[in-house]
Structure formats: structure tokens, C-alpha cells
Symmetry: D2
């Protein structure tokens, strides 16, 4: 998934505000659903974030064209572990491991195959 850095993403330090990379990664996860005409909400199933471990390598700045890559690492019951990476061309700017928990309503629920096919 490609995205552009706009004014709203930057702060007065002249670079992208640190929490925006989490937004970029969430857009990439959701886009996996949208591009198939689906949504990351299905029959009451949805995801919440449980844990993030993120490393910032290089800053992005206004007008940069970024690529976000998403890789499914592990599924265990209601938990998904994903690896995501933000690049600018060949340069690695940001990477994280994110653990999501699948809920149905308020309760953890085994990740449905429907979701696994999309995230696949």
C-alpha cells in the first residue's frame, strides 16, 4: 500500500509525528479489506490492539511517498501477530510487531477464517 505524507502528518519539528506511523499501518491493514470490497468488521467480529513493539529508523517528511507492507506472522486462538514496515523507496523508516485480539461483541473470539483469508 502506498501513501503520501501531508501537512497534517508533520509537526513543527518538520518530520512526521511519531504516532502517525501507527495510523499508516492501520490504514494498510484496513485497506486489505477495502480493496476486496469488505470491511474489518464482520458479523460482530472486529479487532482491537493489544500490544505494539515499534522501532523508528528514519524520519519521513512532507510529500514523501511511503510504502507500507504487512505480513501475518502468527495466529493463535483470538490473537494475531503481524509485522508491518514503512519504507520510502529502499529505505526502512519504521517497523513494528503488533498483536491484535479478535473480539465478537465484547469477548475474545477465535479469528474467523473469513478474516484470515483477507490477511493471509
Amino acid at each position: 500500500m502506498e501513501l503520501r505524507v501531508y501537512y497534517e502528518d508533520t509537526d513543527l519539528g518538520g518530520i512526521v509525528y511519531h504516532s502517525r506511523y501507527l495510523n499508516f499501518c492501520e490504514r494498510a491493514r484496513s485497506e486489505l479489506f477495502f480493496k476486496r470490497g469488505e470491511k474489518p468488521v464482520w458479523r460482530g467480529y472486529h479487532f482491537i490492539v493489544r500490544h505494539i513493539e515499534a522501532t523508528y529508523h528514519l524520519p519521513a517528511t512532507l510529500g514523501d511517498l511511503l510504502t507500507v507492507e504487512t505480513e501475518l506472522k502468527e495466529v493463535r486462538g483470538a490473537r494475531l501477530l503481524l509485522y508491518q514496515r514503512v519504507r520510502r523507496g529502499e529505505e526502512l523508516l519504521f517497523e513494528m510487531e503488533i498483536t491484535l485480539v479478535c473480539l465478537r461483541g465484547d469477548r475474545p473470539a477465535r479469528v474467523p477464517d473469513h478474516f484470515l483469508q483477507v490477511l493471509g
Copy 2:
């Protein structure tokens, strides 16, 4: 209502990103409810924004302490007209007139007295 300007509010121009003033004004409207222990959602009634006319006078910057003032100008059926102003001390930074429409579910509904008391 007082609020502080943080990094997230600024952009690489070094000043507050223009749409953030709308957020600041929305916080001030919601805070009128929160400080009474209420919410701007009540028995299915809530507001949506219909129209904004806003003027930017002076920019705010990191660390500024801003004051947001809200004045109810007019109520007509489902519509509310508010005047809001953002100041830094005596300086006027931003002002707007905002028209809200009260909905119950999906349909316009006369603004309940419950809301008028709060905004009043």
C-alpha cells in the same frame, strides 16, 4: 475552556494546523456537557455540523495556552447557531459561526430543552 497547544496540533510550518481550531471548538462544546457529568448524546439525540464560517486572525504555536469561548446565538427548530472564539490572552486568533443540526436517530428533531439548558 482552556487548552494547551501540543506537538500533534502543529505542522511543519511551525504553527497550529488550520483544521485543529475546529477540533478545539468541538472540545469546548462537548466540555459544556462533560463538566456537568453529561454527554452530547442523550436518548438518541445528538448533533451534526451543517455549516461553518470561520476566520483565522493570528496563528497559535507550541505551548500556547488558548481559551475557547462559546455563545449560543439562535435556536430554530432542529438548528442551533453558535459563535465560538479562540483567544490567547487578549489576542483573538480564530472565530467562527457554526450551525449544528439536532438529529434523533437519522432525522432532524427539535432541539430538546435538556440540550438548551447545557448550551444556554
Copy 3:
């Protein structure tokens, strides 16, 4: 310019938070520069927002694909008047007139031809 509505753009009302449309419009203005390999900052010239008059017609929601159109209406000295519109297919969701002021450093400056070619 096309853009997608993501989680970050929505609020608990289930629709796009009102100030985000201003961000969408700013992205569209900046993208006019980026797609030519330029930036909306040039030799110290840049824009600030002076005035906005905006009307909200219909709400956008998660996963919507939106189109933003930008039309230059008037140039007078340091001032630009633009009309911008956000559509979802044929539906008009949002429209605004926005007045920008061109600054060089801190002072209003006649909009350089370089900028007019891009916005034109």
C-alpha cells in the same frame, strides 16, 4: 484526487469527524504540487488559511472512496479564493470556499506565477 476513509477519520458517531474534510481538502491542494514533483513551499513563499465557508451535505463513513475537486476562483494580490468539493460517486458530501493568503516569510506577498501555474 481520490482518498479512502479510514478508522482514524471516523468518530463514535460512526461517520467522518467534521474537521477531517478540511484535511481532505488540504491534501488535495498539496497533491496538486506533489504530483508535479513540487511542494507548496517555494523560495520562502507559502500559504496560510484566512477564511473558510463550508457546508456539510451528507456524511462519509468507513471505507468510502471520496473524490476531492479543487477550482481556482479568484486571485487578488496575495489572496487566493478556491472552491473545493468532496464527492462520493455522484453524491455531494461537502463543499467549501477557502481564502488563502500567500506569505513570503511573515508578510503577505503577491502570489507568484510559479504557484498559479500549479493551481491554475
Copy 4:
């Protein structure tokens, strides 16, 4: 530091969008400076984020009053390790360890005592 959850912080899931907790924590770090009449930028020294390890325990929602606590864990050369926690009353909602790097201009620089006094 106390802060309120507003509409802009929530998404259509009805809870606070996950990256906003990073913003809340950044506000708390910056507020340590602002409340002394200082800024987290001083003689060219400033911080960037290098690493985050964050755990989400419980979601916050509209109108919640949150408390953010910040504890300096370790200083080593240009690096600072902080522990931050977001609570709602007695409930722990979010916690993270964040590693910041102090830069002077573009280069890592030993954290000045001036900053340590504030964060200390």
C-alpha cells in the same frame, strides 16, 4: 497530568483510537516543560522517538477523564528510557516504555542537564 477524551479521539468502534494514547503520552512529556514555562526544544536540543513497547489493557471512551503518569527510568548518553501509564481512576488502560534520543541539530547528543531537571 489529566486530560479528557473528546470526539476526535474516538473512532467508530466507540473507543479511543489506538494511536491516540501515544499522543496523550507525548502531551504529558511536553507538559512537564510547559508547566515550568519551558519548551522541549532548547538551544537546538530536542528529542525524537526511537522505540516504543506498548500494552493496551482497557479502552477509554468519550468524556473519560484520564491521568497520564511519566517516570524517568534510565539515561544513557543521548538516550532516555521513560515509562508512561494512562489511568482512568484506579484502572490501568495503557502503559508503555518509550526510548527517546536527544539530538542537537541532526546528531545524537548527550542529554543536557537542563532537560534532565525537567524530566527528573
